[in-house]
Amino acid sequence: MTNHSTNQRTNDSTTTLLQVKNLKKYFPIRKGFFRKTVGYVRAVDDISFFINEGETLGLVGESGCGKTTVARCILRAHVPTSGAILFRTKDGNTVDLARLSRAELRPLRPQMQMIFQDPYGSLNPRMTLFDIVGEPLYVNGMTDRKQRVERVAELLRLVGLRPEYMQRYPHAFSGGQRQRIGIARALSVNPRLVVADEPVSALDVSVQAQILNLMLDLQKRLNLTYLFVAHNLSVVRHICDRVAVMYVGKLVEMANTLELYASPRHPYTAALMAAVPVADPRIKTGSVELKGEVPSPANPPAGCYFHPRCEFAEDVCRREPPVFREITPNHFVACHRADELKLPGIG
């Protein structure tokens, strides 16, 4: 059930749920006794993308690329330095999450929730499952305990856990089960957007599949929209309709999943694909090596951030930063040479 939206603006069958425009998040670097600002870590450096209702957008990149910061900015765990985060609320209005005050934001919180990476750190070890899953309900107005008990039971069943478990504490559960609890908590307030920050990275291989299946099922049942942040390209390919690739705080490419994997248009994307080890000894990967190191977001190179490592770099790449533009319908790239390059893809 892949959702192929053809353009950014609304069309008959899909509507944009979230639109991020020129999002920037800079963290000041402070030194000295009086904490003077000496520079900035450009964690997110002018990002624009959109997610349609009911679809899953993958956000991939390596460590330090800023994908987690993007996720947290969208949920306003960080306050963006600049840019707009346009969210279409339940009643059809579009609000800019970046501009809202804490008080204005509070009633909207139930509409967007997060699933965390670490199944151990994301559950308060001193609260029972009922408390954990029920807290969002309580805080958002469901003060009647009996109602909460019923709803928590329903949620636990929804994620495949027995309702009797609600009296237990997290320490009694395995990693996979804890992720399910976290998912139940996120879904308790009927969110429309769920930001999943590496939800299966910390789980065993056999458990990953269970959680991915669960997420797919829930999306179908509840018409959820996912922003799936991850670094595992196989997992991302499996679950996402569209994928956006980040590098040192910038978006380098964004397209439908199959198209991105089969024909990447940015050299970094191609290198990333080529680097994924395939679980088949007859197919040798890693033949093309990406040289050099990821630059620091506090001190990125001039021009295109990727140029020092790019085998196709030319003069213009060293001078001018490329524009993130649409080169084929719904396929966006930030590369000066995207039109000419023929890059290898995978499956």
Binding site: A77, N124, N140, Q177
Partner: protein, 420 residues
């Protein structure tokens, strides 16, 4: 997109953290031999069969055990700590009703009865349980003009438990005159000197009982005040960061850089001489608290800083929890057990501080009684040589400090088995 071979089964089992070879108490799994059947429910995540049952009561108990229960179970295993806890309970019973444990009025001075040595209690008269002591007879040495005491084996003074003695009020509520132990015949002239008398003829044992009350209370109250100051200021510092953090941190550093003894001397010397003993007592407590909160404040700040970054705190924020709720419901409980353990370890420090101050004459002053005041009597060699039993309050200090340390260590180990 057909459903090929979907076999999503659910984990119906409470498994422990896989592969962690750490000492994780009590987390046990269900019996692996049973399989839960899966049920496809409109393509949703699967449910378990209603029939599957938990393997054992023990596992059920552990899985619903709150953090405090787990801490308690772990603490219980530490025999030394449990024993020390009983010792402390004993001490605090004395704190509640010191009069019950005392045998004489601690203020009653009689110069004639000075320096009576500790009397040895014999528990059995013949074969029956009937405590008694030998009488002591004093004679003034014509040369040194000191009273010398010897045991008069011809006279036995019978004792009994729960004997009547001087009257007192229990917790200020009701009056009674029953004491733990005393002479059987209340009207007799003979008295019981369990730990001897001091140079003014005052019964040491009774004075130590009252001293216990003061010394143990000062320790407890000043740590309580420190905890409140430390948690509040450290919490503000850690949670809000920015300017409050800077100011409070510099304040902590300032306070910590002050040399403690001179400060104590200065502050207690500044107390007016004509204050009543209990006012002095309060002042000492507050002074100690104001200096002692800094270490705890730092730790609390550190904990808050790290807790702020925890995912479950972020999840609570995203759910819409207010700041107050996050602090009280999520962050404070997370380090409560650590705070309790640390505080328990801070109390003996306070006790020793108070004892030292009073010993030097700068803290609690006579006629108020504390262990330090009692030890003042043992300040010179002559006294120690003549009446070594006057050092026994020191033993009480040692036992109390040791007991607190063992309990504190036990609590800390129980609360943080991995030692973070």
């Amino acid at each position: 997109m057909s459903d090929e071979g979907r076999m999503t089964k659910d984990e119906g089992r409470m498994t422990k953290d896989e592969g962690r070879m750490t000492k994780d108490e009590g987390r046990m799994t269900k019996d692996e031999g049973r399989r839960t059947n899966e049920q496809m429910n409109n393509g949703a995540a699967t449910e378990e069969t209603p029939g599957a049952v938990l393997a054992s009561k023990a596992e059920e108990r552990v899985s619903v055990a709150s953090n405090w229960k787990l801490v308690w179970w772990r603490f219980r295993k530490n025999k030394l700590a449990v024993l020390s806890a009983f010792v402390l309970i004993g001490f605090y019973l004395i704190v509640l009703v010191p009069d019950f444990f005392a045998t004489q009025d601690p203020e009653a001075t009689e110069a004639r009865l000075a320096f009576i040595p500790a009397q040895r209690i014999h528990l059995f008269d013949g074969t029956s349980f009937s405590p008694w002591v030998y009488a002591v007879v004093g004679k003034r040495n014509p040369v040194t003009l000191r009273m010398e005491w010897r045991v008069d084996e011809s006279r036995k003074i019978p004792l009994r438990l729960f004997a009547p003695g001087f009257s007192y009020k229990v917790l200020g509520l009701f009056e009674t005159n029953i004491h733990l132990i005393g002479t059987a015949d209340p009207k007799s002239e003979d008295r019981l000197y369990l730990l001897g008398t001091d140079r003014l003829g005052r019964d040491q044992w009774s004075r130590i009982m009252y001293g216990t009350r003061t010394s143990m209370t000062v320790g407890l109250v000043s740590v309580l005040l420190s905890v409140i100051l430390g948690v509040v200021l450290g919490g503000i510092s850690g949670y809000f960061g920015g300017w409050p953090d800077l100011i409070i941190q510099r304040l902590i550093e300032l306070l910590q850089s002050l040399p403690t003894i001179p400060i104590w001397l200065a502050m207690t010397a500044a107390l007016p001489q004509d204050w009543r003993p209990d006012q002095v007592f309060f002042a000492i407590t507050i002074i100690l608290a104001f200096i002692g909160w800094t270490t705890l404040g730092r730790e609390v700040r550190g904990r808050f800083l790290s807790l702020r970054e925890e995912d479950f705190v972020l999840a609570a924020e995203l759910a819409g929890c207010s700041r107050a709720r996050i602090i009280l419901r999520h962050m404070v409980p997370a380090f409560m057990s650590h705070i309790i353990a640390t505080s328990t370890l801070a109390i003996p420090v306070m006790i020793v501080s108070e004892t030292s101050l009073s010993f030097l004459g700068l803290g609690i002053r006579p006629p108020a009684i504390s262990w330090g005041v009692l030890l003042q009597e043992a300040q010179n060699i002559q006294t120690i040589a003549q009446a070594p039993w006057l050092l026994i309050p020191g033993v009480f200090v040692i036992v109390a400090v040791l007991a607190f340390n063992l309990v504190g260590d036990g609590l800390r180990d129980a609360a943080d088995p991995y030692g973070h």
